[in-house]
Symmetry: C2
Subunit: 366 residues, 2 copies
């Protein structure tokens, strides 16, 4: 199959760029003396997870139990589920997963949840490896750093069917701060209480083996923290417009990783000289960012959303007006929710489709 | 299965409300002497299409060939594909579909595309039923009304393997005009050139059997047009916040149809007294509208997006602070792209799950 034979709209992965992204991150964490457990919520694709592990990752992080179940079934180990599991049916699924993949890590931020997890794990005859989820200012999940987190770690350690392994802190509010210096200041300030919490735990006799955190935006910042043991960056493997625009250590664009993910669309209507319509709209791209998809190496047009299944190209250069049937690729604004719209990703090298990978955990937010 | 046993986040359809919506639209079009071919891009669910047809619809409209293929395979007939099909592989899939479902209608807005469709249909031994797609000011697809549209209709009629059946005009820019009177003025003005085009076609000896258009917002407006034969409204069957807010003939909210679609989520973290986190974020709701999901009959909390898998509930009434594990339902901002995130819809009546329907055309934007 050739690139031009793929029915549109479709999700494309440029393999050369993708492989360079994996190699660069692997070299980066090695140099920094850190581990990597990349976030699979980005891609939800077992084949990508497999390649990340082959490049040296400990495993993958999963936002949800459903994602983790798909990854485990595909043979991926070293899973970290980064969201609390609080319902009884969820906890029963979790203990079944852990029976199959015993090195799976889960997070907690609530003492009652710790008690229920401990009771259910004991009943099901498994040991759950637990990280305490600490709020480092993201105002999402996570217990307050310092004494509250230490008390929760102690509660975990007190349960015979739970193993306290360490801490997680995700500074999501720092990931997209524009400008590297500003982002560094924000992230190091946010992560400082997590590092202090580690020290407090150890002083309390609770050994901390894992301190997990970091994003693609802070991948070359959080490694400065001696107490951090592993990075959770996810988007680096494919990149998107939202991360590109935050800038890198040197330069107005983040270029440490390459834009490997595109959506290919077809021009289905050219009703006027200043407008052409493509077959990719709200159901083909993420829509949570305040900027639109961007045509790849295709000057003369600007994309605007025009409904579920249409994008409106405004012709800015009449000499490059699109023709009916022309195929145009676009960088999506945000990789994770874009990938989650598709059942498969076409892995391309130049004009050739080398493989088609199933996005097996697509829709698995349960 | 009971409502509270559904793993979250999940998509729920309130059957009582849904059935009343179908019955109300059926009575409305009957009273107005019009046909209904509701847009299945809203739900992508063959079982919903089947019920719409059972309630009197001619068939369903599909935004894409992929959707139509799924509907045809499920036995739905009377399909209208509302987007132009311009590539050769697409046209070959189309002629195969038409061999199976001969009453399928397709739209055109380009003379060269008409020639290719005519040639390929003849080669494949099928007759394609064609509507000319007319731009009524939506600035999406569609040829200009008046003489250009008549000339294209003539080109269709000249092809022995194409049957000219009529016109389509979708005034998408009028569908969400807030305030019924304003919306009526906008839609009738937009649709007037379509009605004139019908008259011009007939004067030119081209009988017009079908004139299709209309949205949920204009369902009780466009029926005033004597020359319109069928409505394409889609969202009416489930409704959403975006349509509710446009107002009805009498009242600040559109209440002709009931809010039948919800997303159920679980509170997975209550880190502080003023905040609780649910397990439904960017991958659980549409994000293309400038307003968030709304909790259903659950005062005291306001939803805000907080990442792929999290929603942040701000507690506005401390006496109603969410508890860990509590289930909360939300109305999605926009039904079509919300439904497109899920593989199935739980059809509930009160506390009971009566059925689980496959959203079989989910992701079929090809």
């Amino acid at each position: 199959m050739r690139r031009d034979d793929i029915p549109t709209p479709a999700l494309l992965l440029d393999l050369d760029r993708f492989e360079r992204n994996l190699a660069r991150m692997a070299a980066h964490v090695k140099r920094a003396g850190k581990n990597l457990r990349p976030h699979a919520k980005t891609h939800r694709c077992p084949e990508i997870a497999r390649r990340q592990v082959a490049a040296g990752a400990l495993g993958v992080a999963c936002a949800k139990l459903g994602e983790a179940e798909v990854m485990a079934r595909a043979g991926i180990r070293g899973l970290l589920i980064t969201t609390e599991i609080v319902t009884l049916p969820g906890i029963r699924r979790l203990t079944r997963l852990v029976a199959e993949a015993p090195d799976t890590l889960v997070v907690v931020d609530d003492a009652e949840n710790v008690a229920v997890l401990g009771r259910e794990a004991a009943a099901d005859g498994v040991v759950l490896n637990v990280l305490v989820d600490v709020d480092v200012g993201n105002r999402r999940t996570g217990i307050a750093p310092g004494e509250p987190a230490v008390a929760l770690a102690r509660a975990v350690a007190a349960q015979s069917a739970l193993g306290f392994r360490g801490l997680q802190g995700y500074a999501g509010h720092c990931a997209h701060v524009i400008g590297w210096d500003k982002r560094r200041d924000a992230s190091l300030a946010a992560m400082a209480p997590l590092m202090e919490t580690r020290a407090l735990c150890e002083r309390a006799g609770l050994p901390v083996e894992i301190v997990a955190g970091g994003s693609t935006g802070t991948h070359d910042i959080d490694v400065e923290l001696p107490a951090l043991t592993e990075l959770q960056s996810g988007s680096y493997c494919v990149m998107d417009l939202d991360y590109r625009r935050i800038g890198g250590r040197s330069g107005a664009l983040l270029t440490d990783f390459e834009m490997a993910l595109t959506v290919v669309a077809t021009v289905v209507s050219v009703p006027t000289r200043d407008r052409a319509m493509v077959d990719a709209g709200l159901k083909a791209f993420s829509t949570d960012k305040p900027f639109p998809p961007e045509a790849v190496e295709r000057p003369g047009v600007e994309y605007g959303f025009a409904g579920d299944e249409h994008g409106r190209l405004t012709v800015t250069d009449p000499s490059r007006a699109p023709r009916l049937g022309e195929r145009i690729e676009f960088f999506p604004p945000h990789c994770d929710p874009t990938i989650n719209l598709y059942d498969r990703i076409y892995a391309v090298r130049g004009d050739r489709v080398e493989a088609v990978w199933e996005i097996a955990a697509r829709g698995r937010s349960d």
